[in-house]
Structure formats: C-alpha cells, structure tokens
Symmetry: C2
Subunit: 201 residues, 2 copies
Amino acid sequence: MGNNDRMERRERADAARNRRAILRAAEELLRLHPPEQVSVERVAVAAGVGKGTVFHRFGSRTGLMRELMSERAHELDQAVAEGPPPLGPGAPPVERLVAFLGAVAELAARNGNLVAAHEHAVATSRSEPREANPIYVGWHRHVTALITEGRPDVDADEIAHLLLGSLHMEPIASRLRAGDSARLARSFAALAEGLLGRPAP
Amino acid sequence: MGNNDRMERRERADAARNRRAILRAAEELLRLHPPEQVSVERVAVAAGVGKGTVFHRFGSRTGLMRELMSERAHELDQAVAEGPPPLGPGAPPVERLVAFLGAVAELAARNGNLVAAHEHAVATSRSEPREANPIYVGWHRHVTALITEGRPDVDADEIAHLLLGSLHMEPIASRLRAGDSARLARSFAALAEGLLGRPAP
DNA sequence: CCATATCTGAACCGCTGGTCCAGTTAATAT
DNA sequence: ATATTAACTGGACCAGCGGTTCAGATATGG
C-alpha cells in the first residue's frame, strides 16, 4: 500500500541523499555550537554541498530549522493523539496538561540548541513575512483545549501562550540545554494544578 | 547636594545633545517599524549623526536598546519600591504580584516594539558575550520574592522566569503592541491567584 | 586665545541570509 | 542503449548588517 497511482513527482535519489546529509550536518553542528555560529554556509560545507542546494531544498534558514524541529516533534504528537493516558486521551485534563507540558520540557531538553536555533532563525530572517510555526500551533491548540476543559472561565488561549513561552526564555532554556527538564516540569505542574485544581487525591 | 566635588569629566554639550537626538530617533523609528528594520545605521541617519557616534556613545546596538528600556522602566521601579499599595509595600503578596504583573504588561504595551527590539538586539549581537539585562533582573527578583512570600514550597525563581517570559512571546507581544494589556493582565491574575490563593473575600 | 582631550562621522571590514543561472544528472520514453 | 527532459546542483554574487578605525572638528579649562 501507499504506492502512488502517478508515481511521478517523486524526489530524486540524489536530492534525497543530500537532504539527509544537510539535516544530519545541521544536527551535528547545533550539538557542538550555539545557534548564531551555525550559519547556512557552514551547514552546507559540513554536508558537502553548495549553499544554493540548502536554500533550494529548505527555502530559508528558518525552513531548515523548522524541518529539524518537525522531525523531533512527530513522536510526541503521535503519543498525544493516540497514546496511553495521561499523555494520550482518557485522563482528567489536569493530569493530561501536566503530562504534556512535562513531555514538551523533556523534548526541549533533549534537543539542546534546536529551539533556540529556530528562534534565532526567525529573528534574523530577512525575507519571510511572519510565518507561524505549525508545530507550535499544534502544541498551543492542545494546551488551550485542555485548559478550557478544566476551567472554561479563563482565557485559555492566552494562558497557553504564556506557559509555552517559557521555552524561549534564556534563563530557562539554558537550564534545559544542560539537561534539566525536571525543574521546569515541576513549575509547570505547580501552575497547572493551581489553575485547574489538584486532581482528586 | 548631588554636585560633584570634581566637576571634571562631565559630558560635553554637543555629546549630550547628540545622545538625546539618537535616543529620540530610535524611539521614533521603533514606533513606526518592526525592530529588525531599525538598524543602527538608520537610527544614526535619522538622528543626523554618523554611525560611529552611536557606537561611541552606546557601545553596541544592545546598549542602545538597553538605555531606552532603562528610561522607561525607571518610573515603575520607583513605584514598586516606595509607592502606595498594592504596587508598593503594604499589600498581601497576591495583590502585589497581580498589580506588578499588570503594570509590567501595561508598560510593555505602551512601549510597543521596545521589548522585542531589545530581544532582537541581544539575539543578533555579534560581540557581546552574554550580558544579563539589569532591568529584567530587577523585575525577576521582585516577582520571585513575592511568590516566595506567598508560597514558600514552590520554585519561585523558575516560575518568575516563566511568567515574565510571556513578554517575549510573539503572539502575546503583538497583542501588547496593539495596545491590549488587559488581556495579559487578566491571565497573569488567574495564574497568580491559582498559585498563591485568592485573597481573602 | 591657545592647548588639548574629547568627540565625530564616513570609509571600511568580515560576515550573513538569500539569489541566480549555466551546467550536471537522474529518471523516463523510445 | 540511447535520447529527452525536467529537476537538481553549487559557486559566484548581492545588499545589508553590526562593529571598528582614525584623521579632523570642536568644546572646554587655563
């Protein structure tokens, strides 16, 4: 299954190989250097391709970083949609919210500079107007829904932005980079439980 | 009082005039354009001085933005330290926290792109290592103290970063720029009251 | 009115994200 | 096999950035 009727328009083999090489190179460089030192040029050199190829494939520096983030976020999205509680459906909203925020913190911690790099890419982009990051949009929608479910009287949309925004705060991000996601997770839990009410003891 | 014994080393008259012109020009440009379009060069042209002068006076783009922020934040700092409650000392921690966060939101709203511009300056700075913004440090210390006072059992330091981080979130910041600080203030209040407990009815 | 330390600003630097396009190459039809 | 063709490639190129430099202008103290 999954065979296209019109098998045309597939990605060419060399293009696919180069795309993987570029993503791997970017990954590696971000693991070793802060985002502002990882220029598109350096990624291209490390991947063994020309700079034009990177832009042809990903459109912009921002596009590259977004692709990298999507790769990492996919697993979490699936666990939320169809996995077991409390991350997946079935648990009360407070518990799902605490579990989800904890998972996001852990994901951010495991991926070091990536979140900061995407941020940096958006901040320095020269040509893109104001593109919303689809991963962030998905996370925000999920958090908003859980808050609304538990506390219909508050501004869930705004509070969801507020909570998720902590990933972009430098003091918190640097702790995440050092591998400590537990501290952020605990604070998420304190706020979520204060807002939605502690789950029945 | 306040007169220096050695009145030497005063700022030269033309230098002072130019400094004011630069700050005013930056202010004006930030009111009309997003931060990434307000380059140091453009500020210099608008102020009628050379680019070198701007750097001589403020050290870097980041230094310029920090100076601008300090100007605006000074008034709030004073109200917190010695003004009437609930902003100043005397009220219970919850009320002081809600009042302070509301004031910060309003300040951010009134100053449009400034917060984002400072953020942008730090993100794109080429020469500065990692300088902490003294205004932010002060705000963070205040929020941390208030949280600790009301809830000694939580990680006040982390939660303070989390709350203040919302100012850097693009979706929230754009609403602030449009003048709506009330929405953020209400969400701050919901979280603060959830955390510290609603003030006695 | 002079001496001089400070201030000024245009030219300059290295580097960035992004564009361009002539030439190469993989996939398909014959 | 070979021809056809559309997609891919990559290095030269660009405008713009933050930041540095330093010879000349200028305010100020004596």
